[in-house]
Symmetry: C2
């Protein structure tokens, strides 16, 4: 019984943005159809970081598989030249429990997060969306744009970055021009970026709201908040939005809505639904041109397992990949 073993670059060679977007759409649809099982993330906390265990299984939409992502987050790693986020996925065959593949999931994690934003934009943005604003311009901003270009025909992006990372805003702009032929501009005032765009993508680790105002009809992908106390979008603005979460339990605990929820500024009833319910056609998406929609993304284990499943499928008869018989 051979188990595939894949490094980051091997996964990156196989998992294209298009494949990630497809995997994540199938995963959310399965989630909405009740064809997924996903126990809560569990955390181990360390002095300088943590480890998260994210198990999930999928049994619908052509996806049959289960697995777990083990992901560590150590913010201080940057200073010693190590990645701050490292992850490994174990994918198993639910029929008989055999391990199918063990793969690095660093690249996969970035891309499946971008793919969730792309899916939300596809389902919730105005159909003729042509412009996007980016608050935050790091690696995740690139993953968001890369995946969104798979589903929408964007023409222009506007970029704002906290002063400390202004160089990264210029880099992002050049890259967006080169990679996708987009008109890209860097702005000093955040409001210039958050208004007059069809889609707004926030990818900062902020603990103070940065975004105060958007134009009617905007779809917001709120990606950055991933822990208690983090918040990128002002509560007054959140209250005006049609709120869609990836998963109620995770989002209310650690997503964009965690602060407004904990303050009682918004209630569970104020949340329109989960992205999977919209993907599965169980709830409507956008209902009007002027509506402001907000997708609160925390990152789900089903996204990881779905991407790993498509990677495993694509492996097929590839003989260049390392395998190991763990039971030998």
């Amino acid at each position: 019984m051979q188990t595939g073993i894949l490094t980051r670059s091997e996964v990156a060679r196989i998992l294209t943005p298009a494949m990630a977007v497809k995997a994540v759409e199938l995963a959310f649809t399965a989630h909405g159809m009740g064809q997924a099982e996903m126990p809560p993330k569990s955390y181990l906390t360390f002095p300088r970081g943590d480890m998260r265990s994210m198990p999930a299984s999928l049994f619908g939409q052509g996806l049959q598989g289960a697995g777990i992502k083990c992901v560590t987050v150590h913010p201080e790693n940057r200073s010693v030249g190590l990645p701050t986020v490292m992850a490994i996925v174990i994918l198993i065959n639910p029929e008989n429990g055999t391990p199918l593949v063990v793969m690095d999931a660093t690249h996969l994690t970035a891309l499946r997060t971008g793919a969730a934003g792309a899916l939300a934009a596809k389902l919730l943005a105005v159909p003729a969306a042509r412009t996007a604003g980016f608050v935050g311009s790091g690696a995740q901003a690139r993953a968001q744009l890369t995946c969104t270009m798979e589903v929408l025909r964007l023409e222009a992006v506007k970029i704002w970055q906290h002063a400390r990372g202004s160089k990264s805003a210029e880099d992002f702009a050049h890259w967006a021009e080169e990679a996708f032929g987009l008109a890209a501009s860097v702005h000093r005032e955040v409001d210039e970026v958050t208004t007059g765009v069809d889609i707004l993508v926030t990818t900062t680790p902020s603990r103070e709201p940065i975004v105060r105002t958007v134009s009617p009809g905007t779809h917001i992908n709120a990606i950055g908040a991933d822990a208690k106390g983090k918040q990128e979008i002002g509560t007054d603005l959140v209250k005006k939005c049609t709120i869609i979460v990836d998963d109620w339990a995770q989002a209310s605990h650690s997503g964009e809505i965690n602060v407004p929820i904990s303050e009682g500024a918004i209630l569970k009833e104020d949340v329109h639904g989960q992205l999977g319910e919209i993907a599965a056609g169980k709830k409507p998406g956008r209902t009007g041109k002027g509506e402001i929609t907000l997708f609160d993304s925390t990152g789900l284990a089903i996204q990881d397992v779905a991407c790993a499943l498509l990677v495993h499928k694509a492996l097929g008869e590839m003989t260049t990949t390392q395998t190991l018989d763990f039971l030998a």
Copy 2:
């Protein structure tokens, strides 16, 4: 950054019974001292089996590490020539989150379960224990005896096996004679095996109590029950015992005591403590020669992580082992 990758036989070559017993004693002591973190197991259920995610970290007793065991259980696998239980452990460095080693944990799981029984026998059996009864004579019975021989000077074993597996009882007896020079006898009446012994080890998957009576002074290692509804020891007998669990949450949910607890026949107050509290010296073990003690073992993630840590330590400069740079 190289991550070690170990197959079952490589782990078996490194992880001796003595090393497993040492690892598990350190793990339980750390648990008792509050030097461990162990979120609840989480389950994914499949039509013919399940997958369990077992994360834990240890930070005391010389153990510094964290990880997760991903274990699948598929009872029908036997009919197609696959193992019913398969497991992989990912061990990480809690300092910076890097993956240290990914190892098969099939052998490790069997041995760490045997090691917990050995530790319980060391802490709870009469010091001059010389005889052991075995109800059930499969692979786990061998792991129990192997590890117990590391801590006690047994001289004789008595074996009972449900009629379906009577051949395995004879095999176990021969093996016990050959491997350890023990006097071994197979019995047809279960009471002949459960009485007149210092230690009783039950390793069956029974859902009906098998053990009804033991002699005063016996220590029982109840290993078999690992799911809701399973029970090897009669409730009337359990009520006479000083009950020690590996972990209250797991044991009350799926261990030997789960049925008596669910029936209200025993209460939380009737449980004397957790094995780690005794290992750490926070609670007394046996207090008299006539006392009947019962250890309810469900299997803890700390046992897996501790064994994996000692395996990783022992790897040291071994160059024969396969490694992979997952981040390459």
